[in-house]
Subunit: 328 residues, 2 copies
C-alpha cells in the first residue's frame, strides 16, 4: 500500500500531524513541539483513531520529557486527553517503563511504535482480504483507516491494488463526519470506488442486498469480544444481523483490554451538545434543546462475526480466540 | 392542543405556508398565489409531510383553476411535484371530481380538507396516547407532527397537556435534519422535554433501556402494512425489534394505498448528492465522491407493532385491520 496517507511523522524536531479536522477541504499539517500542544491536538481530533492517538500520545510524552518534565507527570497528563482509548494507556505505559533511560531512548521507542503501527495495518489488510474473498459491496462506519493508524480499510486498499473489485459504502458518521471527511477521502485518494451514505441509510442499503460484509474499527475490545467503537456501530451491527450480513471488527491487538471483562466496564465519553445541535457554528436545532452525544457505543460480541487483528482472525467464542491472538 | 403550529392557512387571497426550510432559526411565512409557486414550495420542502403536501397541492390546484387553468392540466402538473406521497394524488383526485363545479366549490373542498387534517391529528393523538399509557421514553424519527399535517407527535403533545411525563428522543434525521429543525422545535414550543440525538444513536439509546416505544409517521402504507417513510425509519424499526421495543406508525387513513399490495410497489424518490456531501453549501466530503441518497425506505409490516390512524389502531395482520379502518 504505497500511497497510504500518514497521520503522524517525526521531523527530527517536531511531531508532524495531518490536521484531520481540515479534511477533506484542505491537507494541512501541524507541527507539535510540546506535550500541551499534543494534548490539545488529541482532544480536538486533529489526530484521531485509537492506535494513532496512542502513538501521538507517546510522542507527546517524549516532547515533555525532552523538555525536562518528569515521566509520570507528563504521562498522567496525556492519559486524560481522551477517556476511552486503551491504546493511549498502552503506549504511555511503554514510555513509563523506559522513561528512566532518558529522552533518546523514549524517542527510539516512539519511532518503533510508529513503525509497528504501519506494519500492523499491512498485516490486518492481508488477513481481512482473505476473509472478504467473495465480497464486493462492503460497508464501513467512521474512519478506521490508515489516518486513524489502523487497518479496517486496508483489506479493500490492498485488494484494490491487486485488481479486486470493491464498492465501499461509507457511513458519513455523525456528528463529526469522519466517514465523509476522512474515510471517503482515503479511499478516493487510493482509487477505490466509494458510495457515501448517511448513517441512517445503511439498513436500507443492506435490505437491497448491496452489502456483502461490514467492517469497522474498534476503540476498545473487552476480553469477551464486546467492542466499543464510534457511536452508530451498534446500529450497523444490529442491521447486519437482521440481514445476515457478516460483521467484522478490524483492530490491532493493542486495542484488546483483557482487564475489561465485558462492554459493561467500558466508560463512554460524552461530548458537547453543540456537535449535534449546530454545524459549522450555525444552529440546526432550537436553542437550548436537550442533546445526548455519546462518542461511542458498545457492540456485544454476539453481533460480531470475527475480529481481524495483525496476528490473525479471532472467531467466537472470543474469550479463547482473543487470548490466542496475543500469544503469537 | 391549542398552541399547535399551523403549516398551512388560507388568507382569503393566498395560501400562507410556514417556510419549514427556515426552521428553527426563523419563523417565516410565504404567501403562495399560483400553482407554479405551490409546485416549487412542495418541491423545495417549504411544505412537507404527506398530509400537508396533499392539502397544499389541493390549494395549489384551486389557485390554478381560479386563474382559468383546466382542472386536469393543473392537477397533472402538481401530481409530479413529489413522487412518493399518495396523499398528493388523493387530494388532487378530490379536486378533479368537483372541478367542473367551478373554483368556489374547489376552495370549499380545500378548506374542508384542511379542517379534516386538523381533526385527524387530534384523533390520532387520542388513539396513540391510549397505546402509550405505560411509556415515558419515546423515540421519533423525522417530522410527522402538526407541521407535517399529521399526528405522530400528537399523543405526546396531548399527554403533556394532560400532565403525562414524556421524554421524547428525536432523531436529527439526516440529510435534511427535519428532526432537529422541526420536530425538536414543535415539541420544545409545546414544552415537552426533548432529547436530540444523531440517527446513529437510536440503537445505543434503546440498549440503555431509555426507550419504551418508537413512533413514526408514514409517507405511504401498502395494503399489507409495509410502510414507506423517511430514510432511516427501517433502521429504527430493526433496532426496536432487536430490543423488544414496540414500533408504531401513526398516519391518517389517506396514507394507506390499497392499490399497492406491498412495499415492493412503492417507488423511492432519489434526491441530489449535494444534500449528503455538503452542508450549508460547504462541502463535507471529497469533491465528486459517489453518493446514494434515497428520500425514503420501506419498513416491512413484520417490524410494525401497530398502525395508529384517526379511525383507530390497526394491529397485525394488517391486510384485514387496515381495511377495517376505512369502513369506520
Amino acid at each position: 500500500m504505497g500511497g497510504m496517507l500518514k497521520p503522524i511523522a517525526w521531523t527530527g524536531e517536531t511531531v508532524r500531524l495531518l490536521d484531520q479536522t481540515q479534511l477533506p477541504r484542505q491537507t494541512v499539517y501541524v507541527d507539535i513541539s510540546d506535550e500541551v500542544q499534543m494534548y490539545d491536538a488529541i482532544r480536538r481530533l486533529v489526530v484521531r483513531g485509537a492506535p494513532a492517538i496512542g502513538v501521538a500520545a507517546g510522542f507527546g510524552a517524549y516532547l515533555g520529557i525532552s523538555r525536562g518534565k518528569p515521566v509520570d507527570e507528563v504521562c498522567d497528563y496525556l492519559a486524560t486527553s481522551r477517556p476511552t482509548a486503551v491504546n493511549l494507556f498502552w503506549s504511555l505505559d511503554r514510555v513509563r517503563k523506559i522513561g528512566a533511560f532518558g529522552p533518546e531512548r523514549v524517542l527510539e521507542e516512539c519511532l518503533k511504535m510508529l513503525a509497528e503501527m504501519e506494519g500492523t495495518i499491512q498485516a490486518i489488510g492481508e488477513h481481512g482480504l482473505a476473509l472478504l474473498e467473495a465480497c464486493t459491496g462492503v460497508l464501513t462506519h467512521c474512519n478506521a483507516g490508515a489516518l486513524a493508524g489502523t487497518g479496517a480499510l486496508a483489506p479493500m486498499l490492498l485488494g484494490h491494488e491487486r485488481g479486486r473489485k470493491f464498492n465501499v459504502f461509507v457511513d458519513e458518521t455523525r456528528p463529526l463526519l469522519q466517514g465523509s471527511r476522512i474515510t471517503a477521502y482515503e479511499l478516493k485518494e487510493a482509487g477505490v470506488p466509494v458510495t457515501l451514505i448517511c448513517d441512517n441509510m445503511a439498513a436500507a442499503v443492506m435490505a437491497q442486498k448491496k452489502i456483502d460484509a461490514c467492517i469497522v474499527g474498534a476503540d476498545r475490545i473487552a476480553a469477551n469480544g464486546d467492542t466499543a467503537n464510534k457511536i452508530g456501530t451498534l446500529a450497523v451491527a444490529i442491521a447486519a444481523k437482521h440481514f445476515n450480513v457478516p460483521f467484522y471488527v478490524a483492530a490491532p491487538v493493542s486495542t484488546i483490554d483483557f482487564a475489561c471483562a465485558s462492554g459493561a466496564g467500558i466508560p463512554i465519553e460524552q461530548r458537547s451538545a453543540e456537535e449535534v445541535s449546530s454545524f459549522n457554528a450555525k444552529p440546526t436545532a432550537p436553542e437550548g434543546v436537550g442533546v445526548y452525544n455519546p462518542a461511542f457505543d458498545v457492540t456485544p460480541a454476539a453481533l460480531i462475526t470475527a475480529i481481524i487483528t495483525e496476528n490473525g482472525v479471532a472467531k467466537p467464542p472470543f474469550e479463547q480466540s482473543l487470548r490466542s491472538m496475543m500469544g503469537r
